[in-house]
Symmetry: C2
Subunit: 205 residues, 2 copies
DNA sequence: CCAAAAATCCACGAAAACAGGGATTGTTGA
DNA sequence: TCAACAATCCCTGTTTTCGTGGATTTTTGG
């Protein structure tokens, strides 16, 4: 059986080493490279084509989310498995939206990670239990801000007034105010200040 | 030479494995246990006394910060090296305040981690460069909110008005307003909304 | 002890947010 | 096709924050 070739992209030497060991032990795959930055990753991909890329989100130069998009744009056939510590809805969603083929948390069982690699390599998608639960929670709990609301809350958090936001979005200040009120209601805030705190806690900014 | 005995406390199997490998390779120490939860850690310590405890902050049951305090209370002679991904002032400060003997980031060079273990074992303190820089930045940059300001910003973030905050603190609403204005100036915010965002980003809430 | 910083209080007008309605277009999924 | 939802806009009055400025009293560190 051909071994699956792997590129690890992670800026933590410890983690990279741990993954390498796991993969070696499993016999199913082999690590052909380790990159500690987004740049190193792209350089590597110019010369070698791993079957699966294990991608961390927090990298020193660019975010794994952006890197994911870039890789998929340049090498559409590459398979990307996101391997991170974050289990926030927004992160999971963004990652998958940007073309990742799977999402596994670093505190997953080791077996699950190998499983995910195989699944992704064979063309499937893989979401770890925790991530799946999160996505369901989102749907249920209704952490569902509309696109417009996301734009608006973002600008509010940056300190713009209704008036200024209206100008940026080419809509009426009254509309912005409506969005603001809806946001306060949706997130159960008392006022704008607590709205921003709550949004920040939930990773919506 | 006696090897330094180590207990790893981390809920990421990958990371634990990586650390174990690093330590093995270094020849200077040996891992005598791995705990994935705070409880497992305390159980382990009842029977065995590792020279150095490598402690992660994010654990499933209790925070590493609290665990640190607990361990130090029960076993004052134990040496604790905090090994985490976070490099926020507040985290570093809290950890050291609760008795940790060292602070190293997971993305540190592997050599640095071994170095830190040795230093901590021999009774010294060790702060990785990144953490040290952070602490200096804090002093320099002036993330210096006064006690009163911290109370006030906390209450603002919870959605209370000047009036309400004044009642809670038994001071005049005008005073609260002064604090608010000072906060906005200090943190370079445009208004309360952005004040809360900035404070949240800096971990001041 | 003394200077610096923190905490307190104030005034006044302008600007912004809040409360609590209502209403009209699109879009879209079942 | 039709109800639900998103996005838009509006009104009225009240409350709160913002900007600019100043002033006094405690703490506190050297």
């Amino acid at each position: 059986m051909e071994k699956i070739t792997i590129l690890i992209v992670d800026d933590h030497p410890i983690v990279a080493e741990g993954i390498r060991k796991l993969i070696q032990d499993s016999q199913a795959a082999q690590v052909i490279g380790v990159a500690g930055t987004g740049k190193a990753c792209l350089d590597f991909l110019r010369w070698e084509k791993p079957d699966v890329i294990l991608l961390d989100i927090s990298l020193p130069d660019i975010s794994g989310i952006d890197l994911c998009k870039t890789i998929k744009a340049k090498y559409p056939s590459s398979r990307i498995l996101s391997l991170t510590t974050f289990n926030e809805r927004s992160t999971v969603v963004n990652m998958m939206k940007n073309g990742a083929d799977g999402y596994v948390l670093k505190n997953s069982e080791t077996g699950e990670i190998i499983e995910a690699i195989k699944e992704v390599h064979s063309g499937g998608k893989y979401l770890c239990d925790a991530a799946e639960t999160l996505l369901k929670e989102e749907a249920a709990n209704g952490l569902l801000l509309t696109n417009r609301e996301k734009e608006v809350i973002q600008l509010i958090a940056e300190g713009f007034t209704n008036q200024q936001i209206a100008e940026k979005l080419f809509i009426s200040p009254l509309t912005v105010d409506s969005h603001r009120k809806n946001l306060i209601t949706k997130l159960n805030a008392r006022n704008t200040a607590s709205l921003i705190r709550i949004a920040s806690e939930k990773g919506l900014l």
